[in-house]
Amino acid sequence: MTAQPAIEVDATVDGVDVDLIAAAVQDCPAAVDALVAGPPAMAATYLPRRRVTGIRIEDDVVTVQVRLRWGSTVGQLARQVWRAVRPHAGRHRVDIVIAEITDPATGG
């Protein structure tokens, strides 16, 4: 249980770069507040020494679990996420799970 030296961990799962997907989703600020772990989809990618929350790749599906920004619609979010993620998803289908929504006061 000693501290490991920092090694760049390859985050490619089944030909999909999880870090690229995470960055692409977080570049959808108009609709997405954050990637979230936990229910209902329990989406997370477990890598050596770290994990990427909110994204899961299994079989032919990339699942992206996010928090919706109050004031945006699910339709806007879906369009933005699909446009951003599809170039990085290869042959995978992209499913979107809206797990949470921000509070109206803080969501703008």
Partner: protein
């Protein structure tokens, strides 16, 4: 595309393709908590709604507000939701202000909740049940009534009525 297409005609056309498979076949799932929060906000927005939740839920919510660091009563208090792949149903427990028309208020709540959820999520709201379970009488902060009634009247007196009705 979906079996329920004929029931969703009032939904904006731009949202239609997002349900039951989008352009690339991806699915969209909306968690219960999201619909619950939208419904709670939409119901509270309507003038005439004093509070939400059953008596027990409001008591617990009031106690939580006194705990330092607690988030207090949540916006989802008094809201029950059932969310399917394309449809949602909502149950609301409401405390109304004294002097309002419960029937008209109920219709206003149903309208606002249905339109808010459909606009923000694209889900088809098939049912909004509004249950009015108390009336809040006008009173001062220290609990004395100002409306000319005797002191024995208070917000927790048994003035409740069922208001279940459906959105057609």
């Amino acid at each position: 595309m979906t079996q329920t297409a004929s029931r969703t005609e009032q939904r904006p056309a731009t949202e239609q393709h997002l349900r039951g498979g989008g352009q690339d076949g991806g699915r969209i799932t909306v968690a219960d908590g999201v619909v619950q929060k939208i419904a709670g906000m939409a119901a509270r927005e309507v003038s005439g709604v004093y509070a939400m939740g059953t008596g027990a839920a409001r008591t617990v919510g009031a106690m939580k507000e006194r705990i330092p660091g607690s988030t207090g009563s949540s916006v989802g208090q008094g809201v029950g939701v059932e969310v399917g792949e394309n449809e949602a149903a909502v149950d609301l427990d409401i405390v109304v202000e004294y002097g309002i028309s419960a029937n008209e208020l109920g219709k206003g709540i149903q309208r606002n909740v249905k339109s808010s959820i459909e606009r923000m999520t694209g889900l088809d709201v098939v049912e909004v049940n509004v249950n009015i379970n108390d009336v809040h009488l006008p009173e001062d902060v220290d609990g004395t009534t100002t409306g000319g009634g005797s002191g024995s009247f208070n917000a927790t007196s048994s003035s409740s009525s069922g208001g279940d009705s459906r959105v057609s």
